[in-house]
Amino acid sequence: MDSGMVIIGAGECGVRAAFALRENGYDGPVTLIGTEKHLPYERPPLSKEAMVSEDHPAPRTIAAESLFTEKNIDFVGNSTATSIDREEKRVTLEDGRKIPYARLLFATGAIPRPLPLAAGSKHCTTLRSFEDAVAIRARFQPGARIVIVGGGFIGLELAASARKRGATVTVIEAQSRIMMRGVPEEIARVIDTRHRDEGVTILCDTGIVSFADAADNVAITLSTGNVIVADLAIIGIGATPVAALAEASGLETGNGVVVNDWLQTSDPDIYAAGDCCIFPLAVYGGRRVRLEAWRNAQEQGELAARNMLGAQEPHQAVPWFWSDQYELGLQVAGLADEGVRTIRRDLGDGAFILFHLAADGRLVAASGIGPGNSVAKDIRLAEMLIARGARPDSGQLATADVKLKSLLAA
């Protein structure tokens, strides 16, 4: 038996990796190190269901405690890895405990990007953990004045949740529209309109000059000169990868831990996966990206596990994202900025999909929005078309009567 597999980070990615090691027949020691005291839990509900559920929310665990026991996965919670000795191949935890490894995986994820201006304000917060969610939820009261800085997925999901709970919501976005990154304008407009219909104020092209705390609220001075008073301001301006330990250990890092297409870092016995890594995306000719996405975290966790066991499989998946706001479901397969033109397919009930085509006609991304999961099936089929480098006919893409499945068979 070797000295074991150690995974730093117990989110979706690390947990999937731990179980995938067992699913792939590994029977040596598996140690999963997480900074939080809870059994590993799902983060996507924190901005959505956990904010609006009638009952007080509980963390939704990724796997029951009994499953960790059954699979002999040693979950070390409430603990931080402080150093890695790559010569001796062992990880040191903050309590001094040393854990040897044959292979090590960074699945440390990403944390909210701080807004330095807001650092001194006690009425400003960010959302990452379950505790953050509980604290924010407690402030989503009827009449409470909530300001959300940043019109990205998390900010807008929180805006929808805050409105459902009767709070007054203002979203401040520095760019010219919401969801500038990754979501085409035509779709962003639908979401923008939906928020405004709910009474959310969205201020684009607006920066922040200062935060000035009072006892119970904070006065936010905008670049327009206006001042908004908030009982709570939530900063949602993106995320930064947790890569300090990897960097301190001498691994190559950039915007995240740098890995090859097997998710291997510059040390062949150390891997990185999920939100913390920057990797070559095979579907776009090796373009280096870092994704902040639930499904990618799972897929890369599973792939890293197989490769830690010697599979040498490249990462080939197509990125996939979703967001739920009010009754609307948004899904994106692929990276829309790879496209140079779009074809629209209307599905009825206001639902539509934009197919993004490269100059050579390849389908490179598809973005859809509609009530509930109305775009899910076609986005999934589009994802399969993207994966195989298909060049579908524009006329057929535009025609809802032409089933995408039939294009897949072609």
Binding site: F19, A63, N373, R380, L381
Partner: protein, 104 residues
Amino acid sequence: MSNWVEACTSDDIDEEDVMRFDHAGKTFAVYRSPDDKFFATDGLCTHEHIHLADGLVMDEIIECPKHNGRFNYKTGEAKGAPVCINLKTYPVKVEAGKVLIQLG
């Protein structure tokens, strides 16, 4: 034990596709397999209670539209993370072009 309920007609579902069927406060998913047989399961994914009928059918697999949890719709078997609880299945028969599900 012979509560057969009409869910739809056989023409309502394409081959290798799925349709939602609500009855008596419950929701079901009715499937037509690529080899033209009909099946039925509970309508909601066991992971997060999403309507499976919005998902994609591939061969004998239904994939949840939200998180890609996969089930064999013929047996109800969960095929791996994030789903670990099997789907309940129901007997189905087709009579005179009508798809009937046995609900009790």
